[in-house]
Symmetry: C2
Subunit: 376 residues, 2 copies
């Protein structure tokens, strides 16, 4: 831990980096996966389980929290860490992405965006300054600039317009954030699927001297190859000595391939959402517990896992819970999935330290390809 927000690269293997972000609430081992705690809860999980599987940091969604229970209320209650009983680091997004994807009647101009809540239709305004204010009220450790993320495919003109607006908003967020030694505000690289725009965005943000950089506007439906191409052009422009966060990504395969290109941080709803839909991530790939093949199978998901959800419950029982719509099915599969993701990140970190990143991640991918246990 540290009084100041710091980042150190401890080891590299090719472009893959093993690092450490320190801040007053704790240290984040990178490459890191941040479980998504949308509305002040990582769905169907107790926070001690989230910590127990190895998460150093979670993500909170500004959009959801500003609508309910409200940022000022969270502040009165002692901030998001106290409210949600997670005393370790929290990263919050800016709210912009969800405003664009979830809210109603939104109108965007230079100053910001107005919209109506998807919950009750109440009107809200969000500017770069208000986004930073809200993230401060939540007491977030790593705050994100407000940006505009256009859906792909889009015209180059539209992508460029949104990217340039996002740069101007980054400057305004930097000013609004000011000097906060123990916290960080990250800029977000935009530019869609156009290499020159990605380079322009990354370079301009680098010149602002921010404490960290995210890559946004990816994992929004484009092929994986496009995402990786954008990382190939973006990461080299970003400063070596700052953490790099790929927003909203992704599958275990996406994560390995992005770490290989120099990404340090990830968040994604996949492990939690999949857990609520009967899907388990395992070292043998994705397992659909709805499938009748599991109905009589006394074997656990993974007898070698440290996670009780993976190790101690039969597939037959998990199948039964999922088919019956029982809450415990979501609870156990979410737990299993977050444990798998954290185990994967620890494995990746260890392989970088050992100079075996390519070899080890090859073995991991091979085990996925070999697939699940044969039917009994």
């Amino acid at each position: 831990m540290s009084d100041e927000f710091t980042f150190k690269v401890l080891a590299t293997d090719g472009k893959a980096r093993r690092g450490e972000i320190s801040m007053p609430r704790g240290t984040v081992r990178t490459p890191a996966f941040m479980p998504v705690g949308t509305g002040g809860t990582v769905k169907a999980m107790y926070m001690d389980q989230v910590r127990g599987v190895g998460a150093d940091i979670i993500l909170g969604n500004t959009y959801h929290l500003m609508l309910r229970p409200g940022a000022e209320r969270v502040a009165r209650l002692g901030g998001l860490h106290e409210f949600a009983r997670w005393p370790w680091p929290i990263l919050t997004d800016s709210g912009g992405f969800q405003v664009m994807s979830l809210s109603k009647l939104r109108k965007l101009n230079e100053s910001g965006v107005t919209f109506r809540s998807h919950i009750d239709g109440a009107p809200y305004e969000m500017s770069p300054e208000r986004s930073i204010e809200i993230q401060g009220l939540l007491d977030s450790d790593i705050q994100m600039q407000l940006d505009e993320c256009v859906a792909l495919p889009a015209t180059e003109k539209e992508i460029a317009r949104a990217m340039e607006l996002s740069l101007r908003w980054a400057e305004r967020c930097k000013t609004a954030f000011g000097e906060q030694p123990g916290r960080a505000m990250f800029g977000i690289v935009q530019g869609g699927d156009i290499p020159a725009l990605r380079e322009r965005s990354a370079g301009a943000l680098k010149d602002m001297g921010l404490k960290g950089y995210a890559v946004g506007g990816l994992a929004v439906g484009e092929p994986q190859a496009v995402m990786l191409d954008m990382l190939d052009v973006t990461c080299p422009v970003l400063p070596q000595e700052k953490p790099r966060y790929l927003m909203g990504v992704g599958t275990p395969d996406d994560i390995i391939k992005s770490v290989a290109r120099g990404i340090d941080m990830f968040d994604c709803v996949m492990p939690t959402r999949a857990g609520r839909h009967g899907l388990a991530y395992t070292r043998r790939g994705k397992v659909n517990l709805r499938n009748a093949r599991h109905a009589d199978d006394p074997r656990p998901l993974d007898e070698e896992s440290d996670c009780p959800a993976a190790r101690d419950y039969s597939r037959a029982y998990l199948h039964h819970l999922v088919k019956s719509g029982e809450a415990l099915g979501s609870m156990l599969l979410t737990w299993n999935n977050l444990a798998y993701y954290q185990t994967l990140m620890a494995d990746i970190r260890g392989s970088i330290e050992a100079g075996r990143f390519v070899e080890r991640t090859g073995e991991i991918a091979q085990a996925w390809a070999e697939g699940d246990l044969p039917v009994l």
Copy 2:
């Protein structure tokens, strides 16, 4: 624990009894409350939490389990204890009550009942013998006779017919159950709201020399006074040296008043169901977390509770989770409610041992009447 199924009354205070049921899988301290684990899971709870709050025994529903995942399947998987990861005692109902309340196209005659599953319409037959067979496949420690429970109000003729049928079915269940030293089969007193029929049923069951006796057909919508009147006429007929189980009851107040009349065991979905609907049972009475009064309240449900759900989470957070429909809201409130019920049972047991049952339960009821904390 004991190789044989045994019951001892350790202390009495008035008609209230403090006892102990021993069997190979564990000891049940009575008066006992059994959390309901309908389909092999106490909804939204990990089994170690159910044990942790003090439950010695849980209830499984034969109807639900026979339809899904199926009794033969549970048997192949090692029985219900192994399947659901609850190695301690389990009581199963006969399935009869849910056949009558949930299934479709049911037809009842002397031999048993045929019906169709409410899940997929598949046809089933249930006889006294098949009910006992299923409960054996589940490896249930305390099994219940198949009975017919008529909805009140009903005519005396109808109540008498169902009660007499239930007596004949009790004999058949006793024969089917045979000699199983480590387990028990309980008979069920029927007779609706008619004292003479209750006496007739209890007396006939007593003459069968069963290992325990349940009182059924109550808590089905009749006033509490009717239920208590039926206990007043039934309990004195039942043998002192056998456990008495009041099925499907009830509120904390129902439990205290039934213990006062000599009941030893209870089960009810109230604490679990209420937990999924934003309602918390506390020593200050029932608290509705949906109420806006809690939105800014940093206080826990009960700062003196040993249960983390009651002690460590703010009402504001619980309110937020409930309003947002988050799984964690159901998880925490179910945990709180089962902890409260078990604390209440421990309190009742201690008060009987101390010869202070009336005084102590008066204090408990007084605290409920004083109500929840004043608004901040």
